[in-house]
C-alpha cells in the first residue's frame, strides 16, 4: 500500500489523538498510548501503514536527537561534570555487565561467540526516548534514581560510537567490512571527530550568541524557530558526516548553550517538534511490531522478552546496589532501563549490513526489542503500584526499636509541619518521642542530632512501646489524610485519656477529624494564610495592632462558622452543603463588617464622636465634660 505523505500524516495524527488521551486517562502514560496507536494502524491490525513505517521511523528518530539537545540545554557543564562518576561508573558497568551476561547466555544457546557479543551489546542499550519521556512525564527525572538512569542513558548514547566502530570486526565469515569508519584511516577519523566536536563547542561559545542576538532583534518569531531548528539539524548532519551519533552531537551543542540567555527560547521552540517527532517515533515502533512473525513462535519470543528484561533489570539493580544508591532509586533505575532501546534498531540494521547477525536472528531480535519497549509502561505500572509503595513504606527497612522514654508528648510525623511544632516544644524543655515513616527524613533529623524513630504510627504495638499509655499528648502531624484518620481513631479508642492534636489537610479533613473526636484539628495552611493576611493589611497601611485585631476577629468568626459547618458535614447532599457554606461564611463576613463600623473596633480609643459632642456641650455651658478620656 502506498499513500501520499499528507494521508500518512493524517493517519499518524488521528491514531495518536484518539489513543493517547485514552491511554493517559487510564494511567498508562503517553508512551504506551503511542505504541498502541502504532499497533492499531500497523500491518497486524488495520494495515493502513505498511513498510513506510520503517522509513518514517528513521525520520522520526530525529525526535530522539532533538530530545538530547533539550536534555543538553538543561545540563550546565558544571552539572555534567558532577555527573561524571555515575555516567562512567554506572553507565560503563551497566553496558559491560549486560553485554557479558547476555553474551554468555547466547553462547550457552549455541551462538558463535562473535554473534553472542554483538547480541549482548545490542541488548545492553536502553531506550533514551521512552525512558526520558516517561521520567519527565512522571517528574522523576530529578530524583536520584532518575539522575542515575539519565547518566546510564548518556553513557549508552556515547557508547554507540565505539560499538559501531567495533561491529565490523565481529563479522561472521568472510563478509566485507565496510563499517563505521567509511574507509578513512583511523588518525583522520580521530582528527575529524575532534574537529567536529571542537567546532560545535567553539561555535556554541562564540558564534551562536551573536547570531541569535541578531536574529532575536528582528523580532520575527518564526525566524528564530527556524534558526533553532537549523542549529539542531546542522549539528546532526555535521556529526553524521564524521560518523558520530547525531544525538551525541546535539547533546554537546545543548550543553554548550545551557549557559546562554537564549536557553529558554530555544527550549520552547524545539519542544513541540521534539514532542511530535517522538510521538511519531513511538507510533512507528508500534507499527513495526511484526505480529504474524511473533505468532509463528509466540513462546520463543515471549520467553526471550521476559528473560532479556529480567536480565537487564537484575544487572542494573545489582550495579545500582553496588554503587550505593538507596532502595527506591535502585528500583526506579532498574525498572526504567530494563527495556531495549531504539539504538538497538540502528545497531541491528547495521549489524545486518556488516553481516554480524544472520537475518532470521535479526528479525527475532527486532520483535524482542519492540516488545520490550512496549513493556516499559507496564513495568512502570508494576514499579509504581507494587514495588515503590513497598520500598518507600520501608518493608525492607526494619522499624526501629522504639524505647519508652517517658516523654509526655508523642509525635507521629516530623516533616515540615511536625518539625516546627517539635522544635517549639523542645526549645521549651518539653520531652518528645518522635515516630516518622519517611526514611530520608529520619536520617536527616538524626544527622541534626534529633532522636527520631523510624516507624509506622498506625501499628498499635509501636504506639504502645513508644509509651502512649503514659503520654499526655499525641501530636498527629503526618501528611497522609487516610492514615491520619486511621491513627486518630486508633488512639481515641485505645488511649482515651491521651489528648490528640492533629494536622488537617483541608477543611473537609478538619470536619473528619472533629467527628473522630480529636481535641484540636489545625488546617495546615490556615495559620500562615492568616499571617500573610496580617502582613497584607500592614502593607496597605494598617497599624500592626489593628491588623492583628482584624485577623483575630476573622479567626473567631471563621472558627465559629467552620464548627457550625462541621456539624452539618455529611448530614446533607453536596449542593445543600455548599449553599450552607455560602450562607454561614456570608453571615460571618457580614458580622465582621458590622463590627468594623461598630464600637468594638474603636477598641479603647476614647476619641469618639459622642464623647466629643458631650465635651463641646459641657464647654459651651462652661461645665465639665461627662467622661474620662482623650
Amino acid at each position: 500500500m502506498t499513500h501520499g505523505p499528507l494521508f500518512l500524516c493524517f493517519v499518524f495524527l488521528a491514531a495518536s489523538v484518539l489513543v493517547v488521551p485514552i491511554a493517559k486517562r487510564l494511567g498508562l502514560g503517553s508512551v504506551l498510548g503511542y505504541l498502541l496507536a502504532g499497533v492499531a494502524i500497523g500491518p497486524s491490525v488495520l494495515g493502513i501503514v505498511g513498510h513506510e513505517g520503517k522509513e518514517i521511523m528513521h525520520f522520526a528518530e530525529f525526535g530522539v536527537v532533538m530530545m538530547l539537545f533539550l536534555v543538553g540545554l538543561e545540563l550546565r557543564p558544571a552539572l555534567l561534570y558532577q555527573l561524571r562518576r555515575p555516567i562512567l561508573g554506572f553507565g560503563g558497568l551497566q553496558v559491560l555487565l549486560t553485554t557479558l551476561v547476555v553474551a554468555a547466555a547466547s553462547l550457552a544457546l549455541g551462538l558463535p561467540w562473535k554473534t553472542a557479543i554483538a547480541v549482548g551489546t545490542i541488548l545492553s542499550m536502553s531506550s533514551t526516548a521512552i525512558v526520558l519521556q516517561t521520567l519527565n512525564e512522571k517528574s522523576l527525572l530529578k530524583t536520584p534514581g532518575g539522575q542515575a538512569a539519565f547518566s546510564v542513558l548518556l553513557f549508552q548514547d556515547i557508547a554507540v560510537i565505539p560499538i559501531l566502530a567495533v561491529f565490523p570486526l565481529l563479522a561472521v565469515g568472510d563478509a566485507v567490512s565496510e563499517g563505521a569508519k567509511g574507509g578513512r584511516p583511523g588518525w583522520l577519523q580521530g582528527l575529524l571527530v575532534l574537529g567536529a566536536v571542537g567546532g560545535v563547542v567553539l561555535a556554541g561559545r562564540f558564534l551562536v550568541r551573536p547570531i541569535f542576538r541578531f536574529i532575536a532583534e528582528t523580532r520575527l518569531r518564526e525566524i528564530f524557530t527556524a534558526s533553532a531548528l537549523l542549529l539542531v539539524i546542522g549539528v546532526a548532519l555535521l556529526m553524521q558526516s564524521v560518523n558520530l551519533s547525531p544525538a551525541l552531537g546535539t547533546f554537546v551543542a545543548g550543553v554548550v548553550l545551557a549557559d546562554s540567555e537564549y536557553r529558554h527560547e530555544l527550549e520552547s521552540d524545539i519542544e513541540p517538534f521534539k514532542g511530535l517527532l517522538l510521538g511519531v517515533f513511538f507510533v512507528s515502533v508500534g507499527a513495526q511490531i511484526d505480529f504474524p512473525f511473533i505468532a509463528t513462535r509466540p513462546v520463543v519470543v515471549g520467553a526471550l522478552v521476559v528473560v532479556v528484561v529480567a536480565a537487564k533489570l537484575g544487572v542494573i539493580y545489582a550495579v545500582a546496589r553496588g554503587l550505593g544508591l538507596d532502595r527506591s532509586a535502585r528500583w526506579l533505575t532498574a525498572f526504567a532501563l530494563a527495556q531495549v532501546g531504539e539504538f538497538a534498531f540502528v545497531l541491528l540494521a547495521f549489524a545486518g549490513q556488516v553481516h554480524v547477525l544472520p537475518p532470521d536472528l535479526a528479525k527475532l531480535l527486532v520483535a524482542v526489542v519492540a516488545l520490550s519497549m512496549a513493556a516499559t509502561p507496564g513495568l512502570f505500572i508494576v514499579l509504581e503500584r507494587l514495588v515503590l509503595p513497598r520500598v518507600t513504606t520501608g518493608e525492607k527497612r526494619p522499624h526501629d526499636e522504639v524505647t519508652h522514654d517517658g516523654n509526655e508528648v508523642i509525635f507521629a510525623g516530623h516533616g515540615r509541619f511536625g518539625q516546627i511544632v517539635g522544635r517549639m516544644l523542645r526549645a521549651n524543655g518539653v520531652g518528645t518521642t518522635v515516630l516518622d515513616l519517611d526514611p530520608e527524613m529520619v536520617d536527616v533529623l538524626r544527622r541534626l542530632g534529633m532522636k527520631v524513630y523510624y516507624g509506622d504510627a498506625s501499628r498499635p504495638e509501636l504506639l504502645a512501646t513508644a509509651g502512649m499509655a503514659d503520654a499526655k499528648l499525641f501530636i498527629l502531624a503526618i501528611d497522609d489524610k487516610e492514615a491520619t484518620n486511621k491513627i486518630a481513631e486508633l488512639v481515641r479508642h485505645t488511649y482515651p485519656k491521651v489528648k490528640i492534636l492533629a494536622r488537617a489537610r483541608d477543611r473537609v479533613h478538619y470536619y473528619e477529624l472533629k467527628k473522630i473526636g480529636v481535641h484540636g484539628a489545625f488546617r495546615e495552611t490556615y495559620g500562615s494564610s492568616i499571617e500573610l493576611g496580617i502582613e497584607a493589611f500592614r502593607m496597605l497601611g494598617a497599624r500592626a495592632r489593628t491588623a492583628h485585631t482584624m485577623a483575630q476577629k476573622f479567626r473567631e468568626h471563621d472558627s465559629r462558622a467552620i464548627d457550625k459547618l462541621a456539624d452539618l458535614w455529611g448530614t446533607m447532599d453536596q449542593d445543600a452543603y455548599f449553599s450552607e457554606v455560602k450562607r454561614v461564611t456570608g453571615e460571618a463576613e457580614r458580622l465582621m463588617r458590622e463590627e468594623a463600623g461598630g464600637p468594638v473596633s474603636r477598641d479603647g480609643a476614647w476619641d469618639d464622636e459622642s464623647l466629643r459632642k458631650a465635651a463641646r456641650d459641657a464647654s459651651d455651658d462652661a461645665e465639665e465634660p461627662t467622661a474620662p478620656e482623650e
Partner: protein
Amino acid sequence: MKVLVLFAHPVLERSRVNAVLVDAIRDLPGVTLRDLYEEYPTFAIDVAREKTLLSAHDVIVFQHPFYWYSTPAILKEWQDLVLEHGWAYGENGTALHGKITFNAVTTGGPASAYQRGGYNRFTMRELLAPYDQTANLCGMRYLPPFCVHASLLLDDERDVMPHARAYRRLLAAFVADNIDVARAANLDTLNPVVDDLPEDDGPGWGRE
C-alpha cells in the same frame, strides 16, 4: 542628653492629637521614638531590647493619651516586664539611677477638671502618683507631666499645632540640656517650662 519617647496609642489611625505630637518629634535629633503598639501588637515585649534602649538614654518620656486616669494597657505591660527586680530596683537594681522621666499626656477634659474640687477631683500629679513612685523606686528623677488638655475640643491639626510645637521645643531643650530640672520638678505641669524657653530650637518644625 538623649531622649527616649515610649509612645502608646492603640489606634493611632484614629488619633487627632497624639498623631500630630508624634509627627512633631519624629525627626528630632537626639530623640528616639518607640511606637510600642506598632512594635508589639501582641504585647510580646522584647525585654532585653527595651532594657538596652533604656540604658542608652538619659530622659525617658511616656507619651500617651490619658485613659481612665492612667496609660493605655501596653505601657502597663511594658512596666511589668521591663522594670525587673535586680535591674531597675532592689539590690543591684541601679540601671536607671539618675535618669529623668515624665509623662506627656493628652486628656479629654480641660485643665480645670484636674483640680481639687474639680470634675476629676485630683490634680494630674496626684493621678500620676504611681508613675512618680515607680520612678522614685527606680532612683529616677520624676518630673511633672507635659499636658495637652481639652483634646476633645481640638478640632483639627491647626488647633493641635501650637501644642505640637511646644512639645518639640520641650524635647529639644532636654536634648540640649537646657532644662532647669530642680525648678521643673516642683511645677504642676511642664508646660510653663516651655514658655520660658528661648525661641531658638534650630530650624523649627511646622507645616503651616
